[in-house]
């Protein structure tokens, strides 16, 4: 039973409220990702669970036990930091063995060996076990760092942007591996990132944080398709969702309280200028390889959307727009349904 819960936890540093009234529960075997910009309170949340910080208010519960006042070593958690911090004078094997040889939890060497080989195989670093830690590539070092957490079997793994210091290629590869390992081992992971692709592809549930507050918690699909607020809507999706004043849409389906309409790129259809629908002008077309971003001017507002590569658009073209599945937000930025009711509980 490795359920981890935060109950109404707050933490301030001087005048800065890093985490404000956060309640969150991570189920056994769940991969939960906290997504947010720098300063959102994600790392503080991890540190509170690890016991590296004491909350000003609220409780931390691991496996049904209140651990708020326990030291980190008593909490049965493993932390993976952003910067891999391996012991340079040790081999990969000894780096991996280190947590198991700590005096606090004596494990016999046969068990250590078994566990290390198991983890090394999982991470595809078996052939590197005798190497010095410094003789590895960046991707390998980070795998060893993750492996050093995995050799233990704690209640929860806490990972603070473990992939962010790696090349884009390595990152994509390790993302898939980490998800596979988590599934195979059925481990509980709380993972912190500002990268929406990592969140979308790995998480069972995503918690979107900003300014110390957990704004929405849900599956990637829920968060993407039914964001509670305009802020959440703009956190996910490339290109970013278009938020435009509702009067520009010029149709009567818009609920009266709506001030802003959110249009995702896949819900905007561009056709030649003689079709019905709001008219827009092509400002420029940005080629990004797999995607062509079309920058449009709709009255005074800019829209960015994806263009079908077969559609030959160029700057200055007049086009008409059709919209599907718009999201409506009220004055405060909260989503409302098309019938005017609040879009969420």
């Amino acid at each position: 039973m490795a359920e981890v819960a935060l109950v109404d936890v707050s933490k301030s540093y001087g005048a800065v409220e890093a985490v404000r009234g956060l309640s969150l529960s991570i189920a056994d075997g769940e991969f939960l990702v906290l997504l947010g910009p720098t300063g959102a309170g994600k790392t503080t949340t991890l540190r509170l669970i690890a016991g590296l910080e004491r909350p000003d208010r609220g409780n931390v519960v691991i496996g049904g036990r209140v651990v708020t006042n326990e030291a980190p070593a008593e909490r049965d958690v493993a932390f993976v930091f952003q910067q891999y911090s391996l012991y340079p004078h040790l081999t990969v094997y000894d780096n991996l063995a280190f947590p198991l040889r700590s005096p606090a939890r004596r494990v016999n060497e046969n068990a250590v060996r078994r566990r290390i080989h198991q983890v090394a195989e999982l991470l595809h670093i078996e052939h590197k076990l005798d190497n010095r830690a410094t003789a590895l590539s960046g991707g390998e070092m980070q795998r060893v760092a993750i492996g050093r957490a995995l050799v233990r079997e704690p209640a929860v793994y806490l990972m603070d942007e473990p992939l962010s210091s790696l090349d884009a290629k390595l990152r994509a590869g390790l993302r898939l591996e980490l998800k596979r390992i988590q599934r195979e081992l059925g481990t509980t992971i709380l993972y912190v990132t500002h990268d929406q692709t990592e969140a979308m592809t790995m998480a069972d549930r995503i918690g979107v944080m900003n300014e110390g507050i957990l704004i929405q918690l849900g599956t990637p699909r829920e968060i993407y398709e039914r964001p509670d607020t305009a802020y959440v809507a703009s956190r996910l999706g490339t290109p970013t969702i278009n938020l435009i004043p509702s009067e520009l849409l010029g149709c009567d389906a818009v609920p009266p309280q709506a001030r802003t309409v959110g249009l995702r790129t896949e819900h905007i259809r561009i056709s030649s200028g003689d079709r019905p629908g709001p008219l827009a002008q092509v400002h420029w077309v940005e080629h990004l390889g797999d995607q062509n971003h079309v920058h449009l001017k709709l009255a005074t507002h800019s829209l960015v959307t994806l263009a079908d590569p077969v559609q030959q658009l160029k700057a200055g073209d007049q086009v008409s727009l059709e919209f599907a599945e718009p999201l409506y937000f009220d004055q405060a930025g909260n989503r409302i349904d098309a019938d005017g009711s609040r879009g969420h509980a």
């Binding site: 910009p37 720098t38 590539s137 960046g138 090349d167 884009a168 290629k169 994509a172 500002h194 990268d195 929406q196 692709t197 979308m200 592809t201 990637p220 699909r221 993407y224 996910l236 999706g237 490339t238 995702r264 790129t265 896949e266 940005e286 080629h287 990004l288 390889g289 797999d290 994806l306 590569p309």
Partner: protein, 365 residues
């Protein structure tokens, strides 16, 4: 503004050849990106342009003048490392003016240059502020200001956005490119992030193990990769490769994959029996029930706008980028259609592309 020519430049450190004969030209006013994995020689190349390393052989020309042996300070080039290296005890004005003060410019001129630079970067309202209290974006702008205040002939930037949030990086990409256009600069920019490269560059050079793999406009490199390395390095997810054993004739317009004839651009080469790889980008793969090219779905990654579906075929793994509203079951068998006019065929041993009608139109690297 400046034109930079790098001619057959090589650099060895002891027995290690970091750069093995690299040649390219950075045109006046262009935004030129050197892209490659860590260890490909891109930073060494940039440091040689800056004058921080001396080439073991080859020449570097700045506006036609051979500067190979000139020291960095004599080259009129500004080097921007990871931004953010500001002097915390100075205010914005002093930080931006620092390079000019070091060169003993007259006070009035420093004042004028700093204010002009701040206006360009839209931070003129912050001049008297201490840098400690600034937002991340404004700190970046101050660091940039310090680089451009001297108005050098060229800017060299080594992963200046590497340490930033992905969201913020995207924003700064736009700003950097806009700034480049506004001050009519020549910029050489290093990154390992292909999205940054695609978003900003006029031209990209892709390096691998100290050599140039391909030089071209971003879309050109994406659509017509000349090697499997480039095809694999550019694109997220990268190009898929379907392995095939075949002998090929000039004029061939199809190739058999898993025994199924697949239409492709007309081939302009004869090849004896050998191993080849048919390359297809994920967005050019679609599901087609009737297609005889079959595969089994082994995974789907939901990305919101789209999803990446991984399919195992008899000739290898294929990732397809599909609309996210398309229902996909892991384990199901599906038919695959490949967009015929966008297929590349590579020699699987050398990694070089075979010449075909797709590659005819594009400029040569």
């Amino acid at each position: 503004m400046a034109e930079i020519k790098v001619e057959a430049v090589a650099k060895t450190f002891g027995t290690f050849a970091a750069v093995k004969g690299v040649t390219f030209t950075v045109d006046h006013g262009s935004f030129f990106v050197i892209l490659g994995p860590s260890g490909c020689g891109k930073t060494t190349t940039l440091r040689m342009i800056a004058g921080l390393e001396l080439p073991s052989s080859g020449r570097i020309l700045l506006d036609g003048e051979d500067v190979t042996a000139l020291r960095a300070s004599a080259r009129d080039i500004a080097f921007v490392f990871q931004l953010f290296a500001l002097y915390p005890h100075m205010n914005v004005r002093e930080n931006i003016g620092f390079p000019l003060r070091c060169q003993n410019y007259p006070r009035a001129e420093i004042r004028r240059s700093v204010e002009e630079t701040a206006r360009l970067l839209r931070i003129d309202h912050l001049l008297e502020r201490r840098v400690g209290g600034l937002s991340g974006g404004d700190r970046q702008r101050v660091a940039l200001g310090r680089a451009i205040v001297r108005r050098p002939k060229a800017f060299l930037m080594d992963e200046p956005l590497g340490a930033l949030d992905s969201e913020f990086r995207r924003l700064m990409c736009g700003e950097l490119r806009e700034l480049h256009d506004r001050i009519d600069a020549t910029t050489v920019y290093i990154t390992h992030d292909q999205l940054e490269a695609m978003a900003m560059a006029d031209r990209i050079v892709i390096m691998n193990q100290g050599r140039v793999e391909q030089i071209g406009a971003p879309q050109e490199i994406y659509d017509r990769p000349r090697t499997m390395f480039v095809a694999d390095f550019i694109g997220a997810p990268p190009m898929n490769f379907l392995g095939v054993q075949a002998s090929l004739q000039r004029g061939d317009r199809s190739i058999r994959i898993d025994g199924v004839p697949i239409e492709m651009p007309e081939l302009f080469e004869d090849r004896a029996e050998g191993r080849f790889a048919l390359g297809v980008r994920p967005e050019n793969v679609s599901f087609a029930d009737a297609s005889p090219l079959r595969g089994r779905v082994i995974g789907a990654e939901y990305l919101g706008t789209t999803q990446i579906v991984t399919v195992i075929t008899g000739s290898g793994q294929v990732k397809a980028r599909l609309p996210s509203n398309k229902a996909v079951q892991v384990g199901e068998t599906v038919g695959l259609a490949l967009r015929s006019d966008r297929l590349s065929l590579f020699d699987a041993i050398s990694g070089q592309v075979l010449h075909s009608s797709l590659y005819e139109g594009g400029s040569r690297g």
